[in-house]
Symmetry: C2
Subunit: 442 residues, 2 copies
Amino acid sequence: MIAAMNDTSVARTLAGFASGFRWSMAPQETRRVLQLSLLDYCAVALAGVDEPASRAVRAMLLAEGGIGEAGIIGGGQCPARAAALVNGTCAHALDYDDTHFAHIGHLAAVVFPAVLAVAEREGASGPACLEAALVGYELATHVGRWLGRGHYEAGFHQTATAGIFGAAVGAGRLLRLGEDALQHVLGLAATRAAGLKAQFGTMGKPYNAGMAASGAVEVALLVAGGFRANPHAVEAFGDTHAGEGNSEIFADLGKTYTVQEVSHKYHACCHGTHAALEALTQLRRGGLPIQELAAVDIRVHPRWLKVCNIASPTTGLEAKFSYRAVAAMQLMGRDTGALDSFAGDPSQDAGFRLLCDRINVAGDDRLSDSVAQVAVRLKTGLQLQASHDLKAPQTLQSREARLLAKAGTLVGTAQANRIWQVIQAFDCGGAVKRLSRLLREV
Amino acid sequence: MIAAMNDTSVARTLAGFASGFRWSMAPQETRRVLQLSLLDYCAVALAGVDEPASRAVRAMLLAEGGIGEAGIIGGGQCPARAAALVNGTCAHALDYDDTHFAHIGHLAAVVFPAVLAVAEREGASGPACLEAALVGYELATHVGRWLGRGHYEAGFHQTATAGIFGAAVGAGRLLRLGEDALQHVLGLAATRAAGLKAQFGTMGKPYNAGMAASGAVEVALLVAGGFRANPHAVEAFGDTHAGEGNSEIFADLGKTYTVQEVSHKYHACCHGTHAALEALTQLRRGGLPIQELAAVDIRVHPRWLKVCNIASPTTGLEAKFSYRAVAAMQLMGRDTGALDSFAGDPSQDAGFRLLCDRINVAGDDRLSDSVAQVAVRLKTGLQLQASHDLKAPQTLQSREARLLAKAGTLVGTAQANRIWQVIQAFDCGGAVKRLSRLLREV
C-alpha cells in the first residue's frame, strides 16, 4: 500500500485518477460539455452509417453474429467488442466529430463507442456511463499530450494511439475494475495501441478510431476476466512510439478538465479552415455586400497551408481541404455545416470560380494555429477585418444551440431533439438502453 | 499495368510475390518443413489451451457467441476472427512454438491461426491452405528481416508486428484476393500492426500472437468486403517503427524459401539455451559419466547472458531461463522437452543444486548467437568438448522424428500420430475440417 502510494509512474498516476474519479467531482459545466459531445457523437455517427468504411465493417460483423450485447448505430445488435468497432468507424467516417487540439486528435469516436457498448452490456446507469466517458476523455487527452506533437509528427494517429488508453480505462470502470486492474488495462492497451497517419484520406482513418474503440473493449474485458499484462507497458509505449514523455502534464489531472477544451466542428470540412469560416461569419453578420467584394485575404499559421489550402478544388472532398472553396461557399450563402454542400464538383459554378479568384491565403507564423484573420476589401475601397480563435471560450448556450442545429442538419430536427432529450435526462433509469434504441432507428 | 510493372515498392513486391505464388513452385523439402511446422503448431497449441492467457481469451470469445466458422483448439467453434485470436494465444502460451532467427520471431502462432480459420470458413482445400500458409511464412520472415534487429531492439515484438503482414496476406489468398487487393491488405495491416516486447514474461506475450492473427483475419475480410486503405502504408509502418528498411532482402523472395531456416524447439525452455542443450546431448550420447563430472563450461554469444542466465532459479519458470538449470536437468536425465520437467522449484533437489554448482557460463562474442560450445572436465582430468549450431542443417528425417516425439510428449503419442496422418494427407478432400475436428477433441 505504501509502495503504491509512492508510485509516481505514469501508469499508476493514470490508474489512480481513473479509479478515484466520481461524476459528482466534475464541475457542472464540464459535465454539460461532455453531454454535448455525446449529442454530437450520436449525430455524426448516424450521419456516417452509409459511408463505405462503415458499411464494410458492419457487413463483416453482422455476418459473424453473436449475442446482442450492444446496439449498432444505424440498426442491429452485436457483442460489445464488435459494436465498438463499427460505431467507432461510423463516428469518424465523416471526420465531423469533436477534436482536442492539445491531444492532437478526436475523442468521441473512440471513447463513446467503447464506453456505451460496455455500459449497455453491463446494464450500467446513465451517470455511471457518463462518469466512465469523462474518465476516458481525461485519460485520452492526457496520454495524447504526454505523447506530444513529436508522436504525431512521427506518423502516429493520436486519435487511436492515445484514444485506446482512455477508452479502455473507461470501459474498465464500467466493469467495476479497481486501481490495480485498471493499471493492467493500461498495460494491455499499450501492446494493442496502433494507428498510422498514413491512412489519412482513406477508409483506414475511420477504421483507426473503430479499431481503438474495439481494442479498448477487448483489453478491458480480458482484464475483467483475469488477464494480467505488464502494468507499466504504457511507459514502454511512449518510449517505442516517439513519445515526448513530459510527465508534468499529469499534474492537472482531476484539477482542471481538458474536456472543456474540446472543439466541436460546425462546418463539414477540415478543422484547419474553421477559424477562417468563423471570422467570415462575423463579417457576414455585419452585412457584407457580396457584390461589392474586391478581395478577401485569409491569414493563418503556416502549418495549415500544407493541410487545407488546395487552390482550385474540383471535387467535394478537395473542397473540404481548400480555404478558397469553403470561404467562397460561405460567401455564397451555402451551409458549410451540411454534408450536401460538399457533394459534386464546386468548380462547375461560374460564380464560385469568380469568388475563388478574389480570395488570397497566406501563412503568418505570428498567429497561433487556432487563429485566423480575415480582411475584406470592397470595390468602394472600404476595408473590413475580423479574426477568430477556435480556443476562445464559448458559452454553453452557444455550444448547445450550434450543436443542436448541426445535429438537426445531419439527422433531422426531430431525431436530434429526441437524442438530446434522452442525453439531458441521462440520470433516469434505462437511459443507456433508450439511447441505444434511438440510434438503431434510422 | 506498365506502372504496376515498374513499381518496385515494398508493398508491390510483397503483393506481387504473394499473388503469383503456387504451392507447386516450392521445393518438396520446403513443403515438408511447412507441414512439420503445422504438426508442431497443433501440438504446442493443444498443450497450451489451459494456460491462463488461453483461458481468459477463450472465455471472452465463447461469451460473445457468433457463427461457428472455425474451430477453437481445445473445443468449440466461433467466427474466424475470434478463432484466430484464441488459437494464436494458445499456440504461443507455452513459448514452445517455432522460431525464425533472422525474422527475430515466431511464425506458426500467427500465420496458422489466421490461415486455418479462414480456410475452414471458406471450405478451402488442403493444398490451398498450405499454399496460403507458405505465403504467410515467407512474407512474415521477409517483413521481419526488412524491419531488422533495429526494430526488435527498439522494443517491438516482431512475432506480432511482422507476423500480421504474412498472416493477413495468407488469409487474403484464401479469400481469392488479387495483387491489388493484397496490397490493400498489407496497407490496412500496417495500421493494425502492434505488439511490445514489454509484455515478455506476462500473459501479454501470447496475446500479441493472437492479436496479430486475429487482426490479420480482420483486415483480409474487410478488404474482401470492399474496404480500401493506403496501399503503401507498409512502408510507413517501417518508418514509424524503427524499421531498418533494407529492401535488398526482398531479392530472394520466391527463389529461396526462408521457411527452411525455421527452428523448432525440442526443449520446453528459452530458445537461447537450446544450442547448449544440443551440445550436451552429443556428449551424453558419447557416454558421459555424470558421477565423474568435475566442471561444465558453457560458452555462448554474450547477448544470451542477459536473456537466459538466471544463476540460481527457484521456480520452474526461472529454470527455463537458466543455462545452469537446464543443463543440470539434462545431465540428471530429465526430459527437457516435457512441460512437467519445469513444474515446481528445481532447487529443492540437493543433487540438482550440486550439479548446478559445477556449471559455469561465459559469453564469447566470437560465437554466432545460434552456437554454443560446451566443455566438460572429469575428475580424472579428462576433457570432453562439443558444440552445436542451431542453424546447422537438419535432415528431414531427424526433424520429423524429433517433432513427432515432442508432439507425443505434449499431447500423447496416439493423438500426435493422428494429427500427423491428417497433415501428411492434406491434399485429400476435407483435410482442413478434419484437422480442425481433431484439434477440438481434447
